[in-house]
Each structure stands twice: as structure tokens, then as C-alpha cells.
């Protein structure tokens, strides 16, 4: 039985190799001018490498502020991609810590954090107990397939130029739509800004000029580089705060501890 099987296996192997040889023979004559596999593979590899390198170059170009809009910094921001200080008018106490807040206006978790801590943050900022710095991001536009984060961010920057970033920021979050992705209309945004006391004509011309477009892009890029992968992110003197379980009191305590 063993010998039988062996014989059969040999037969199978022979016929297998023969059929392959047959195929090679059959292919050879008619494939005289056929495609050269090595040449084709080389071309394919070169095209593939070029495409990948191209994608990396395009991506790197995208990091630069290539937005069509203007390159003005909103009041409170000192450099492209940097945060916007909302309480520049407050006199900071000695050794006041810097609180960096990374937010996207469409982020529901940011809304929750604002509802919980917003009043306390405003109070501390007005008293000069923190240097309150906002990094307004717009990455959720991609996820939600709209442009509401971008429009809201630009509205808040136009308000910043009139010294009204904080109230407009607060109004945008207070009026965040219940359904994530519904966004705000241009009229709603304008109302938040004018209600805060900004001149309507000044706001209109600011929006029309799109002067802060590159700043917004730069903030989004810089925060990504800094490893901020989620919003809200709170950093106290550069150190990320654990927001889970935070209350206004424990938050105030953390600020106090960082002041020493």
C-alpha cells in the first residue's frame, strides 16, 4: 500500500511538472514579443515609489498654511499656530499658571467640560489667577463632513479682535446643537458676536476678509504635532490634566497647587 501510494505520488509529481513545462512551451512561442515581467515590475515599483513620495510631499505642503485666506493673527495670539490668550486684560497674580485648553467648537465632550468648569475658569481668568490660553481646533469638520467648526472658530477670532473672545466662545458652546454635526448658521454666529457687543459692520468685514484662515490652519497643524489627539485637552503649565471626575472645586484646587 505504501509503495502504491508512492508510485502514484511520483506519477502525480511528474505529470504536474510536465504540465507546467507544457505551459512554458506553449507560452514561449506566442509570447515572443510579450511583456517583460522584470521591466514591468521595475516600472510599477518606480511609479509606486513616486506616488508614495508625492503623497508625503503633498502632506508636508499641507502642514504649511496654504489656506487661501489671510494670515492675520487674532488679538491675544502671539504667533502662528500658538494659542490665543483670552484674559490679556487681567492682571496676573504672581506665578499664575498657564492653562492651555484645546477645543473644537463642535466637540460634545468640550461642551460638557465647559458646562462643568466654564464658570470657574472664567472666574479664575478674570481674577488673573491663570493665564488662560485657547487652542481652537477644527478637525471635527472632517469627521462630521461640514464646516461649522471652521466658521465658529473664525467668528470667535473676529470677536477676539474686538476683545470679546471669551463671551463669544462661551455663547458658541452654550448654543451647541444637541445633535453633533448640525452646526450653527452664519446668522447664529453673527448674533453671538453682536450680542457680546461687537460692532456688526466690523464683524461682517472681518468675516468677509477671512483674515484668520491661516492662523486657524496653523493651530490645527501645531496641535497635531504636539500630540493633542483629542478634545478637550487641558494642560496646566504644560502638564495634561485628568478631566475624568473633575469638579469645579478640585479644578480650583489644582490651579492653586500649580501657583506655588
Amino acid at each position: 500500500m505504501g509503495a502504491n501510494a508512492k508510485k502514484r505520488r511520483e506519477a502525480a509529481a511528474t505529470s504536474g511538472s510536465m504540465s507546467r513545462q507544457d505551459k512554458i512551451n506553449a507560452a514561449a512561442p506566442k509570447g515572443g514579443g510579450g511583456p517583460n515581467k522584470i521591466l514591468l515590475a521595475t516600472i510599477a515599483a518606480i511609479v509606486a515609489i513616486a506616488a508614495v513620495v508625492g503623497a508625503v510631499i503633498m502632506g508636508s505642503q499641507g502642514e504649511k498654511t496654504d489656506s487661501a485666506g489671510g494670515s492675520a493673527l487674532p488679538a491675544g495670539a502671539t504667533k502662528m499656530g500658538g494659542g490665543l490668550v483670552s484674559n490679556t486684560s487681567a492682571t496676573l497674580v504672581d506665578k499664575a499658571p498657564t492653562l492651555d485648553i484645546y477645543e473644537d467648537f463642535q466637540c460634545p465632550a468640550c461642551h460638557q467640560a465647559e458646562q462643568l468648569l466654564g464658570a470657574k475658569i472664567d472666574e479664575l481668568a478674570k481674577a488673573g489667577k491663570i493665564k488662560l490660553t485657547y487652542h481652537v481646533m477644527n478637525f471635527l469638520d472632517t469627521n462630521l463632513k461640514n464646516d461649522a467648526s471652521t466658521r465658529a472658530a473664525k467668528a470667535s477670532f473676529c470677536a477676539a479682535d474686538a476683545g470679546k473672545f471669551q463671551p463669544v466662545h462661551d455663547a458658541i458652546f452654550t448654543n451647541q446643537p444637541a445633535n453633533e454635526g448640525d452646526g450653527w448658521t452664519d446668522e447664529q454666529l453673527k448674533k453671538f458676536v453682536t450680542d457680546a457687543g461687537v460692532d456688526a459692520a466690523a464683524y461682517d468685514s472681518c468675516v468677509k476678509s477671512d483674515k484668520h484662515a491661516q492662523y486657524l490652519d496653523a493651530v490645527q497643524t501645531q496641535t497635531t504635532k504636539d500630540g493633542v489627539t483629542s478634545t478637550p485637552t487641558f494642560k496646566l503649565n504644560g502638564e495634561q490634566m485628568k478631566l475624568a471626575g473633575m469638579t469645579p472645586d478640585t479644578f480650583a484646587k489644582a490651579i492653586e497647587d500649580a501657583t506655588k
Binding site: A5, L40, G54, F139, T142, T224
Partner: protein, 169 residues
């Protein structure tokens, strides 16, 4: 006893066995290829988001993450197109297998470290919002399935309706 089984296998005509293999290969090629093209196409227009998704794994610094984030969608599209066409099937399947392996390790590492992230496999990505929980189990199961299909193609790259067989016989 095992010989009986072996004998039975050998009695299956070569042509029929090859034909079954080539059909399975075609299905494997199309599944892996379409998944790769879709995953790549959803990310390729948003390179910065793709780079942020890589950053969320907290494995690579920005300098490395950005290259991976920018290059990966294009690599996925090219590999996917090659597999769909059945061109250079074995080479494409080898690279695809390495990709799945890298994804499986990356997601496993996020899982064991307790990170709360979206894999970013089909765009999006980054940390999850409060109240969302990761889908690591299904992401891993999917990638392991795709790895097995790709390994099949590495082992048996001859497939039905492929550019390889049309062009090179």
C-alpha cells in the same frame, strides 16, 4: 491510516484542485484589494488627520507619524489596485501581509496599554469622545482575517482572472 486520506487527496484531479485554489485566490484578492482601496481613498484626501490618527497610538513621535500618516493611504491604494487587478499578486500580498501584521501589533499595543482610541483605519481616528468605547476586538478580528487571506495569496498567487496569468501565463 493517514495514507488513506493522503491517497484520497491525490486522487482529486490536479486541474480541479487548481481551479478551486484559483477561485479562492480571486475572492481573497478582491476582498483584500477592495478593503485596501477604500481604506486608502477615505484617508488620502486628509493627510493631516491620517497623521493625527497615527499620533494617537502614542508609538511614534511626530517626525515619524507624519511620514506614516502621509504615505500609508497611498501605499494602501496602490496595493489594493494591484490586488484587484491581480498584477504582481505575490509581491503585493507579501507587502499587504506585513501591513496587516503592523496594524495587528499596533492595535494590540493600544489595547494592552488601555488607550481609548479609534484605530483610524478608515479615516477619522484619534482619541474617542467620552462615552465611546474602543472596538479593538473587531478591529483585530478583521485584520487577522485579512492577514490570512493575504497569506493565502502569498502561498498560492495564481488566481483566476488575474493580470498575472493574462500577461505572463
Amino acid at each position: 491510516m493517514s495514507n488513506v486520506v493522503a491517497d484520497d487527496l491525490e486522487q482529486v484531479p490536479d486541474a480541479r484542485r487548481d481551479s478551486l485554489r484559483e477561485t479562492i485566490g480571486l475572492v481573497a484578492r478582491l476582498i483584500v484589494g477592495v478593503v485596501l482601496v477604500v481604506a486608502g481613498a477615505l484617508k488620502v484626501t486628509h493627510p493631516l488627520d491620517s497623521a493625527r490618527a497615527v499620533m494617537a497610538y502614542e508609538i511614534f513621535p511626530w517626525a515619524v507619524s507624519r511620514i506614516i500618516g502621509y504615505a500609508l493611504p497611498m501605499v494602501e491604494i496602490i496595493l489594493g489596485l494591484l490586488l484587484i487587478a491581480g498584477l504582481f499578486t505575490r509581491a503585493a500580498a507579501v507587502i499587504a501581509s506585513l501591513l496587516w501584521l503592523a496594524f495587528i501589533i499596533g492595535i494590540a499595543s493600544a489595547w494592552v496599554r488601555g488607550l481609548q482610541i479609534d484605530c483610524g483605519c478608515f479615516g477619522g481616528g484619534g482619541a474617542l469622545a467620552a462615552g465611546e468605547s474602543p472596538n479593538y476586538f473587531w478591529e483585530e478580528a478583521r485584520d487577522i482575517g485579512l492577514l490570512l487571506l493575504s497569506l493565502w495569496l502569498v502561498r498560492w498567487p495564481r488566481t483566476r482572472l488575474s493580470a498575472d496569468s493574462a500577461m505572463f501565463g
